[in-house]
Symmetry: C2
Subunit: 253 residues, 2 copies
DNA sequence: CATATAACGTTGTCTGACAGTGTGACATCC
DNA sequence: GGATGTCACACTGTCAGACAACGTTATATG
């Protein structure tokens, strides 16, 4: 029998009801992140609204969220489509990521906050590399980077990181060669993990800078990389979502 | 008579039609930035739509943009209101700003891009301080910081900075003491400007860190500051917009 | 073959509607 | 008196339907 006294209430958390618009935006964002909705893919408002069983206005509100996140592009009269990244975007995205992650590293090291989550993300990444599927490696890679930002405790940095993760994914998916990851990334990630654990700020920052520069360079220049370390995603590798593949089929080119 | 050859067209820029939603979002954002719309102020959709002479759906789409920018808050069933910042937000906002501006400083120095705009912004700031009105100083201060990011040439960093400027402004406006600025900020800004011009990256980064930490500390602890350097905004100082003051009056508490 | 025209599909925007929910005033009860 | 219950009002959440403006594609025309 629960205690009647208000001050002695058991541990109750604030009820968070997410709005419909949140849910819609999440679904579309996830579809993009998982590759079900390809860069350049345009959104047919009527059909998409039907598919999600929401009204057109609700869908449009959600789309505005994604537009302001830079995940989708909007042109008056032509509607909204998944942003297609160009080579100009590569350095830009990684500049933002370096800004976010460097700051997060500084906060984590200086505040001495717990970093168990980073270790765990690294372990997951190692497993994914053994598994050797592009999608799993890509997800684990980004999750590792996100774990650092999450440990900083800054909600804003964390939110920005989530958006940047989608941008990063869009960079890969916009690559004409198709979605690829390099499985040699584990070295630098271990080094980053160690530097943070050791509280070595300059070294950690240097690694962050190196990782970003390296990733950007590889996207610019595909040929410098020995084939051996590349894992390419085949079509079956992507998280297939019947709903969205159905959508993709009914959409115009 | 214009040349008929397409390749010989005079200098023409791509026509950018901004969507209605952009315009609505800009108006509301400006109203917040200028202080016409105070933190905590809720938006009555029907009345606001009437005031802007747009439909409720269009207004709602625009509001979603501002929600995802973190400028407004949304709760299901209770609508949307201007975000009210708390002390928890102070460090968070400045952590993001340090991330952005430090990265921008690095890019500007390493790339050797032109920095005339920064000098100009500093000059404007000096003028504003002579003028000694809180609003002018606050605007010039933020514009100086933005000029650095703009010089980096990164559109994403620049966009993030624009949002962070509104966040910073909301921090001041949410302060129970009212909107205040310190006119002693010119010293550090001159130093930052010089460091960038001299290409002294470590020093520039140190100044950025110091500016952010100082600003955050002053918002946390009002009393450490001698009154002499504080400029307080009186009511007439804010950019009065008949349209929005009318709106404010008709809105519920 | 390039250009004009027509037909179609989509988006942009609005009106109107109604249920669900939040809010404040008021009455009620211990 | 303070807490609780009740009710009316205001507002948001969501939808359907409509229509003009715009884009795009196919078709006709020079």
């Amino acid at each position: 029998m629960p205690s009647p006294a208000t001050s002695e209430l058991p541990v109750l958390r604030k009820v968070i009801r997410s709005s419909t618009i949140d849910l819609i935006a999440d679904q579309i964002r996830n579809a993009i992140y998982s590759g079900s909705l390809a860069p350049g893919q345009s959104i047919n408002e009527v059909r998409t609204a039907e598919l999600l069983v929401v009204s057109r206005p609700s869908l449009r509100e959600a789309l505005q969220r994604l537009v302001s996140e830079g995940v989708m592009t909007h042109a008056p009269g032509r509607g909204v489509w998944v942003k297609r990244m160009t080579s100009d975007d590569i350095d830009d995205v990684y500049a933002v990521r370096e800004a976010i992650e460097a700051q997060a590293v500084k906060i984590v090291i200086r505040s001495g906050k717990p970093i168990a989550r980073i270790h765990q993300a690294l372990a997951t990444l190692e497993l994914a590399i053994e598994e050797n599927t592009a999608r799993a490696i890509g997800d684990a890679d980004l999750d590792f980077h996100h774990s650092i930002v999450a440990c900083s405790g800054s909600v804003r940095l964390s939110d920005l990181m989530k958006v940047s993760m989608v941008h990063t994914r869009l960079l890969s998916l916009s690559d004409p060669r198709g979605y690829e990851v390099r499985c040699d990334l584990i070295e630098t990630h271990r080094e980053l993990n160690e530097s943070i654990a050791a509280g070595n700020e300059p070294r950690a920052l240097a690694v962050v800078g190196r990782v970003m520069a390296g990733a950007a360079a590889r996207l610019h220049n595909p040929l410098t990389e020995p084939e051996a370390v590349i894992v390419r995603a085949d079509d079956q590798d992507k998280l297939v979502d019947d709903q969205w593949s159905q959508l993709r089929d009914t959409m115009r080119a």
